[in-house]
């Protein structure tokens, strides 16, 4: 059996007989690739023995006369969360093939990093995953600190954790809202944005910016938090508790929502690991892997928290994993605020970081998954090579396997459940 993963629609344009619909020559009609008729379409694999593959119904094996419609979703489409483009081959309402196209937001960040000193790179990292900026900054400063063997003051670590966990909540709130929009519900997005706005107000009071903070520094943070920070965050957490409950009541167990998400876009654990999924998308497939537990950074080994793990690997599990993660993050923030003591917030360092020669890989658990930074340093002020492991990028790779065989409406929901941010995918 051939590996249909790559057969797709990539028959060259001229060899696609444009059977066309009468009277309208807009919709372009493609012939079915005969290899798509073997019955394992959409199976994650087509045939190789190592991969078990997600079983899809052989209902997709239809008569050879059937024609597929090519539907272009994106780069400007309400459901693609940015400038992402999917080429869908559809048979009626069912997706028989999908080609993802990325790169519309490619800014060459990694190349730019090679020309910037480390303190400037932080501003570039703000703009990778632009809904969890603190987490990105953390990934970078962790890598440089590891390279330079810097001990970060305790208070700085706690402040970093508080901000990162708040950012995780903000990111997941955004996810829940946009995911509800993908599923067709208008209101939850407004509720989650309302709560996210409160978090960002705190970010603004702390770092001076709502999103592009440039707040973490190699060796610590830019400045200490304001005096009323603890009180404000405590107040915020109780409001967040209520907001998360609201999302839970309006979406999570609603019949319509369950009908849309249960059993849709299933990926099993071994496949998820093989694709390199991470974060909630991996944990939803029953793989209990969390960087905060396995390779603790900051002071995550000083706080107690749970890690929600799904068992079905479907869209609902990916959604609910995130909802539960928000509650755990609220707990982490509470503990950090309790354990925080006054103290220095920067390690004594030169203003311009000049790491030694070496190579380092450091990673942290971002809202979207395992965010890694690989730096090759030649001993200069600028990295010789910097490469990011973007979690959205890895999660998005599996999209085709998840979508093929489902309906168009499911494609939208599945894409939403992967929670991609194109700034990070394209870099």
């Amino acid at each position: 059996m051939t590996n249909i993963r790559n057969t797709r629609l990539d028959t060259p344009e001229e060899s696609r007989p444009n059977a066309g619909l009468p009277s309208v020559h807009g919709p372009q009609v493609l012939t079915r690739d005969p290899r798509l008729l073997t019955g394992t379409v959409g199976g994650t694999t087509g045939g190789t023995t190592e991969h078990s593959g997600t079983p899809h119904t052989p209902a997709l094996a239809r008569s050879p006369q059937t024609l597929d419609l090519m539907l272009n979703m994106g780069p400007q489409h309400p459901a693609t969360h940015g400038v992402f483009r999917m080429e869908l081959a559809i048979d009626g309402e069912q997706v028989v093939d999908l080609i993802p196209h990325i790169g519309y937001l490619h800014r060459g960040s990694e190349k730019l990093c090679e020309h910037e000193i480390y303190s400037q790179i932080i501003t570039l990292f703000d703009r990778l995953d632009y809904v969890s900026n603190f987490n990105n900054e953390l990934g970078l400063v962790l890598a440089v600190e590891k390279l330079m063997s810097i001990e970060v003051p305790e208070r700085a670590s706690y402040i970093r954790m508080v901000l990162c966990e708040l950012n995780r909540i903000a990111s997941h709130l955004l996810f829940a809202g946009t995911f509800a929009l993908d599923a067709g519900a208008l209101t939850p997005s407004l509720y989650t944005f309302r709560d996210r706005e409160k978090i960002q107000a705190i970010f603004e009071a702390t770092s001076g910016a709502r999103m592009m903070h440039n707040f973490f520094r190699v060796g610590g943070i830019k400045e200490d938090v304001a005096e009323d920070f603890g009180a404000r965050v405590t107040q915020l957490l109780s409001e967040l508790d209520r907001g998360i409950d609201e999302v839970d009541h309006i979406l999570t167990f609603g019949e319509v929502f369950l009908a849309r998400t249960k059993g849709v876009g299933v990926i099993n654990g071994p496949d998820a690991v093989d694709w390199g999924l991470s974060g909630p998308a991996l944990r939803a497939s029953n793989v209990p892997y969390d960087v905060r537990v396995y390779e603790p950074y900051c002071l995550y080994d000083h706080v107690e928290f749970g890690v929600p793990v799904g068992s079905q690997g479907d869209t609902w599990d990916r959604y609910y994993t995130r909802i539960l993660e928000m509650r755990e993050s609220v707990g982490i923030v509470r503990q950090c605020l309790g354990q925080m003591k006054p103290g220095p917030i920067m390690a004594p360092l030169r203003r311009i970081a000049r790491p030694p020669k070496g190579e380092v890989y450091a990673h942290a658990e971002n809202p979207r998954g395992d965010f890694g930074v690989y730096i090759v340093s030649d001993g200069g002020e600028k990295p010789y090579r910097l490469k990011v492991r973007p979690p959205s990028y890895c999660n998005l790779m599996a999209l085709r396997d998840l979508v093929v065989g489902q309906y168009i409406a499911d494609a939208v929901v599945i894409l939403g459940s992967l929670d991609i941010v194109l700034g990070e995918v394209d870099r």
């Binding site: 590891k146 093989d274 390199g276 030694p356 380092v360 090759v376 790779m397």
Partner: protein, 195 residues
């Protein structure tokens, strides 16, 4: 010479041979310092295990800061990775990162770097291989980890490195008709024609 020094020397052959690394004095003002290596016991065990497990591929085992590195000839990268994934003592089933580093200016070589992790044994390592600039190719590892798919396509875009056997090596993040390899060091940052 301790085992760590040996490991570092293996990992940084050029640094060791061309210039004498200054002993353990990384700090202000020191121009050429090298990050110290401190492996965990798990990493030490892995470093001991690797030479025998990968014997057929002539591995050079070293270490970077806290990770075991293993350099193999580029022709055998895919097979070595297969062994690393399937050997029950290793089971590196999770590809974290695949990237290419441009050492053309220094050595006329590209280096492929594979950061891998084992969810079962909870250990990590780095596989490296080098290819000459004149004929840049590596065997694909998509048959080992499917997650390597887009990484290889991206590196093909940016560095012009071929990944032989990759099932679908089209452009990924650059436009289809883009010319040049913007990841390479010799590609200018500013002075290029606007696309």
């Amino acid at each position: 010479m301790t085992s760590q020094d040996q490991a570092r020397e293996a990992a940084q052959p050029r640094a060791a041979s061309h210039e004498q690394p200054k002993p353990a004095a990384h700090g202000r003002g020191e121009a050429e310092t090298i990050a110290p290596v401190h492996l965990t016991p798990k990493g030490e065990a892995l470093a001991k295990l690797l030479p025998s497990a990968l014997e057929a591929f002539h591995p050079v085992v070293g270490a970077d800061i806290d990770e075991v590195t293993c350099r193999v000839p580029r022709e055998s990268v895919a097979e070595a990775c297969k062994v690393l994934k399937t050997d029950p003592r290793l089971t590196f089933d999770y590809l974290r990162l695949l990237t290419v580093v441009d050492y053309v200016a220094a050595d006329h070589e590209f280096e492929a770097v594979y950061h891998i992790y084992s969810l079962e044994h909870r250990h990590k390592m780095v596989v490296k291989a080098r290819t000459p600039e004149s004929d840049p190719w590596f065997p694909t590892v998509t048959s080992v980890w499917r997650g390597a798919d887009w990484y290889e396509r991206e590196m093909h875009d940016l560095f012009g490195v071929d990944f032989r056997g990759h099932p679908d090596l089209r452009k990924l993040i650059l436009p289809d008709d883009f010319e040049g390899f913007p990841g390479r060091k010799d590609y200018p940052l500013h002075e290029y024609d606007e696309y």
